[in-house]
C-alpha cells in the first residue's frame, strides 16, 4: 500500500473566476468520503491544483475506489514521496522498480512534470538523467517513449516530489452540486440508473423518487431500488430516496382516461409528483432515463406532452442512446446485475393493448385540465418513506419532512 495518493481534478481547469467555488465543492466531497472510510482522519493537502491524501498506514484499495467515484476527479496516482531535490529521487525509485519489475523484461519512460519552476533541473533534464540511471542498473528494462509498460511519473510540486507508476481514472466531470439539483425518477430498469450516473458526472446533486405501485407490484422491486441506490449513491455527496406509494393514485388515474392514454397519464402524474417534490426541496429540474422511441411513452409526441406538463426542464441524457449502449454503461457502473433481476412493472400491468403514440392534443389538454391530482399527490408525498444514502452506499431511513410541508 502506498502512503500517498495524488488526486488530479478534471474540468475544473476550464473554470475562470469561479474556479475556487468548484475546488471548494470538490474538497468538501473528498473530505466527506475520506471521513467515512477513515473516521480517525487522514491528511488532505492542496498542492498546485492537486490534492494529496496521505496516511501513515497506507491507503487501502477500498478508499481509492471510493475516491474514484467522486465527480470532478480526473484520476489518482498511488505515489511515493521524496524531498524536493534531484538526488533524493533515484534511491527511492530504484527500490520501487526492484519491487514492481525485479528481473522481468519491461519497457519504461520517465515523464516529469515540473510544476514548481524554482526546481533547478528542467523536466527534460530530469527525464534524461533518471532514464540513464535506470538503464545503467536494470539491464532488463528498455525505453519505449510511445507505449511504455511502466510510465514513471515524476511530479515536482512545491513541497514534495511524487513518484508514481500507476494512474487510475475517475469518473471525471464536475463536482457534485455545482450544476444544480435534480429530482431523478428511478425505476427498476436499466435506463434510469445510467441516466443518474451521467448527470452525477456533470455535477448534479440528485434526489431520487421511486413510484411504488404496491399492491400492484410486490416488494421485490422496492428491494431492487434500494440495491440500485447503494451503487448510485456512491457518485453523490449524501443523497435521498423518496419511495412514494403510488398504487392508489395509479388506479385512479387508470380510470380517468381512455385506456390508450393510461401510460402517458401515469407519466404525467409522475412528472407532477416529481415537480411537487422539487418545489419543497428546491430542486431545479427533473431527470428521466427516456431514450427516444424506446417505448410508446417515449415517442416524440409523448415527450412533448410531458414537457408541456412539467414546470421544470426534464433532462433526458439517454435520449440519443441505443439500448446496447445503455446496457454497456450499466455494466460499467455495476447496476446491470441488479436491473436485470425480474420484477413486476405496474405500467406494463395496466398497459393498454394499443398505447397512444400520436396523442390528440385537444383531448389531452381537456384531460389534464379536468384532472386535479394535487391533493392526491400531496398525500403520496406525505406517506413516502425517505432514505438517506451516504457516499459509501449505506442506506438509513430518515424522517419524511415533506409530511410537515403538506400537513392537512
Amino acid at each position: 500500500m502506498y502512503k500517498f495518493l495524488v488526486i488530479n481534478v478534471d474540468e475544473l481547469w476550464l473554470k475562470g473566476k469561479n474556479r475556487p467555488l468548484y475546488f471548494k465543492a470538490l474538497k468538501d466531497h473528498l473530505k466527506k468520503v475520506i471521513k467515512l472510510y477513515h473516521p480517525e482522519g487522514a491528511k488532505l493537502a492542496f498542492d498546485r491544483q492537486r490534492y494529496i491524501l496521505s496516511m501513515h498506514s497506507g491507503i487501502p484499495a477500498g478508499t481509492i475506489d471510493g475516491i474514484l467515484k467522486i465527480p470532478g476527479i480526473h484520476s489518482v496516482n498511488p505515489a511515493l514521496s521524496v524531498p524536493s531535490q534531484f538526488s533524493a529521487i533515484y534511491p527511492v525509485l530504484r527500490e520501487e522498480l526492484q519491487k514492481i519489475v525485479g528481473d522481468k523484461k519491461a519497457t519504461f519512460k520517465v515523464i516529469t512534470k515540473r510544476v514548481d519552476k524554482r526546481f533547478p533541473q528542467s523536466s527534460m533534464q530530469v527525464n534524461c538523467d533518471l532514464g540513464g540511471m535506470i538503464l545503467n542498473e536494470f539491464p532488463n528494462l528498455k525505453v519505449d517513449v510511445h507505449t511504455p509498460e511502466i510510465p514513471i511519473h515524476v511530479k515536482i510540486l512545491d513541497e514534495q516530489i511524487y513518484l508514481t507508476t500507476k494512474t487510475l481514472l475517475g469518473v471525471g466531470g464536475l463536482p457534485c452540486g455545482m450544476s444544480g439539483h435534480l429530482v431523478t425518477m428511478i425505476s427498476g430498469g436499466f435506463d434510469s440508473p445510467v441516466a443518474s450516473y451521467l448527470m452525477s458526472k456533470r455535477g448534479c446533486k440528485q434526489t431520487f423518487i421511486f413510484f411504488y405501485a404496491y399492491p400492484f407490484v410486490g416488494d421485490e422491486v422496492k428491494d431492487k431500488i434500494i440495491e440500485l441506490l447503494k451503487k448510485l449513491g456512491q457518485y453523490q455527496k449524501y443523497c435521498r430516496l423518496y419511495i412514494v406509494p403510488f398504487g392508489e393514485l395509479q388506479s385512479q388515474v387508470a380510470e380517468a382516461c381512455h385506456a390508450e392514454y393510461r401510460t402517458v397519464l401515469f407519466r404525467h402524474a409522475m412528472v407532477q409528483t416529481a415537480n411537487l417534490l422539487a418545489d419543497t426541496i428546491k430542486a431545479d429540474a427533473i431527470l428521466t432515463g427516456d431514450a427516444l422511441g424506446q417505448v410508446s411513452s417515449q415517442t416524440m409526441g409523448n415527450i412533448a406532452l410531458m414537457d408541456g406538463s412539467s414546470k421544470r426542464p426534464i433532462l433526458r441524457p439517454l435520449v440519443g442512446y441505443n439500448k446496447m449502449e445503455i446496457i454497456n454503461l450499466a455494466k460499467k457502473i455495476k447496476t446491470f446485475d441488479i436491473s436485470v433481476l425480474p420484477h413486476d412493472d405496474a405500467c406494463s400491468m395496466f398497459a393498454p393493448k394499443h398505447p397512444i403514440i400520436r396523442p390528440d392534443r385537444v383531448y389531452w389538454q381537456r384531460l389534464v385540465c379536468a384532472l386535479d391530482l394535487t391533493e392526491n399527490i400531496q398525500k403520496c408525498l406525505r406517506e413516502s418513506q425517505v432514505y438517506q444514502i451516504n457516499p459509501v452506499g449505506d442506506l438509513s431511513q430518515i424522517d419524511n419532512f415533506v409530511t410537515n410541508t403538506f400537513k392537512k
Binding site: 404496491y214 399492491p215 400492484f216 410486490g218 388506479s251 387508470a254 380510470e255 425480474p342 413486476d344 400491468m349 395496466f350
Partner: protein, 359 residues
C-alpha cells in the same frame, strides 16, 4: 386475520402451544443422559413413538423415527438407499422439491413411467398444490407386483392425520410426514420405515432414534408434535367433513363472483382448493388481500418466487398462459364459514377493481 394457507404451515393448536411452553421450561435434560431426568424423557419419547405407530396402524410392521423436517425424511430415504447413479427412479415432476432435488442430485436414471427395473418409486399422498389424492396402498401393491424389490416411498406431508391410512399389511416401505402441517411446531417431523428394511442414516453420531438418526432429541418438540397428531387423529372424520362443507361453500361463493373461474382439479380433496382466474395475476390479488390481513397462496410457498413458468404447475397440466393466475386456498380445521364470508367481502371488492383496471 383470515389465514387460508394451511398447506404451507398451520397455526399451532392452543393445547399444543401450552404443552410446548411448559415442556421447553421443564424438559431441558438430555434424553440420552443416564440420570433420572434423562431417562424419564427417553421413556416419554418412546411412548410418543409408540403412539405414532398406533395411529397409523403400523405397530407390528414399522419403525417410526423422529426427524427435523419432512425434507430430511425424504432425503433420508432417497440418499440412504445406496442407489447407484444409473439405477432407475420413478417419481412425478409435480412432487415436492425435497423429492425432486435429491433425485436429480443423484444423477439418477429418473423416469416418469414406471418400469420393472426401477429401484425406487416415490408417490405423493396428497399433492400440495393440487390437493389430488392418490390411493398409495393400491399403487404400492401394483409396483410390488411388477418388481418386489423396488422401494416404495410415500410423501405423506399433506395427507398425514387428514386422510385415513393403515400401514400394516400395505406394501409401502416408507412414509414421511411433518408436524407443522397439523398444527404442531416447526422443526420436528417423522418417518415410517418398514421393519427389516435397510436405510443408511443421513446423520451418524450418538446412536439416538435406535441408530436411525443421530442428534439429541428435541423432547419438547416431540411431545407437542405427538399431541398435535393425537388431536388430529381423534378429530380426523369430523375435521374432514367440516372442511369439505367449507370447501363447497367457498367454491359456490367463488363461482358467483367469478363465473369464468377455472377449477382444474375436480378430484382434489377438501383441504386444498386450487383455482385459476384467467388474466388476473394471482400475486397482485394476494397483496391486495394481505392489506386486509387475509392470507392465501399464489403457488406452493417454496416456488412462489419463480415468475412466469412454474415446473410444478406444468407437471400438473396447467397451461403456461395461466401460471401467473393460479390461486391456492388451503383450509385448516380451525377455519370457519364466517371467515369465508369475510374473505369474499374483501375479495369481491378487489376483484371488481382489478377486473376493470386490468382488462
Amino acid at each position: 386475520m383470515i389465514y387460508f394457507d394451511n398447506a404451507a404451515a398451520t397455526p399451532m393448536a392452543p393445547e399444543v402451544l401450552a404443552v410446548l411452553s411448559v415442556s421447553f421450561k421443564e424438559d431441558f435434560a438430555n434424553p440420552s443422559a443416564a440420570h433420572e431426568l434423562g431417562k424419564n424423557l427417553f421413556k416419554r419419547i418412546e411412548k410418543a413413538r409408540q403412539d405414532f405407530l398406533i395411529w397409523m396402524d403400523a405397530v407390528e410392521e414399522y419403525h417410526f423415527t423422529f426427524t427435523s423436517s419432512a425434507t430430511e425424511s425424504n432425503n433420508t430415504i432417497i440418499k440412504g438407499l445406496g442407489l447407484k447413479a444409473d439405477d432407475a427412479i420413478f417419481y412425478f415432476k409435480g412432487d415436492h422439491p425435497s423429492i425432486v432435488a435429491p433425485i436429480h442430485h443423484l444423477h439418477g436414471n429418473f423416469t416418469q413411467a414406471f418400469h420393472e427395473k426401477c429401484k425406487l418409486a416415490v408417490f405423493t399422498h396428497i399433492n400440495g398444490q393440487s390437493g389430488q389424492l392418490k390411493d398409495v396402498v393400491k399403487l404400492s401393491k401394483e409396483i410390488k407386483e411388477k418388481n418386489p424389490n423396488c422401494w416404495v416411498h410415500i410423501d405423506g406431508v399433506q395427507g398425514f392425520a387428514k386422510y385415513p391410512l393403515c400401514l400394516n399389511q400395505s406394501t409401502i416401505d416408507s412414509y414421511s410426514l411433518s408436524s407443522h402441517k397439523i398444527r404442531g411446531p416447526k422443526g420436528v417431523a417423522g418417518l415410517y420405515i418398514k421393519k427389516g428394511k435397510k436405510i443408511s442414516p443421513l446423520l451418524e453420531g450418538g446412536g439416538q432414534e435406535h441408530g436411525r438418526r443421530a442428534s439429541t432429541q428435541p423432547a419438547p418438540l416431540i411431545f407437542s408434535f405427538a399431541l398435535a397428531a393425537e388431536l388430529a387423529f381423534k378429530r380426523l372424520q369430523e375435521n374432514h367433513l367440516r372442511v369439505l362443507a367449507l370447501n363447497e361453500y367457498f367454491k359456490a361463493k367463488l363461482l358467483a363472483v367469478v363465473p369464468n373461474v377455472i377449477l382444474p382439479f375436480a378430484d382434489a380433496g377438501p383441504y386444498i382448493l386450487t383455482f385459476i382466474i384467467p388474466k388476473l395475476p394471482s400475486d397482485v390479488m394476494l397483496r391486495h388481500l394481505q392489506q386486509n390481513d387475509v392470507f392465501m397462496s399464489s403457488s406452493s410457498a417454496c416456488s412462489s418466487k419463480i415468475k412466469g413458468f412454474n415446473e410444478t404447475f406444468s407437471a400438473l397440466g396447467i397451461a403456461q398462459k395461466y401460471h401467473k393466475n393460479v390461486f391456492r386456498i388451503s383450509f385448516g380445521e380451525q377455519n370457519n364459514q364466517g371467515e369465508v364470508d369475510q374473505f369474499f367481502n374483501y375479495f369481491k371488492v378487489h376483484y371488481k377493481n382489478l377486473e376493470r383496471l386490468l382488462r
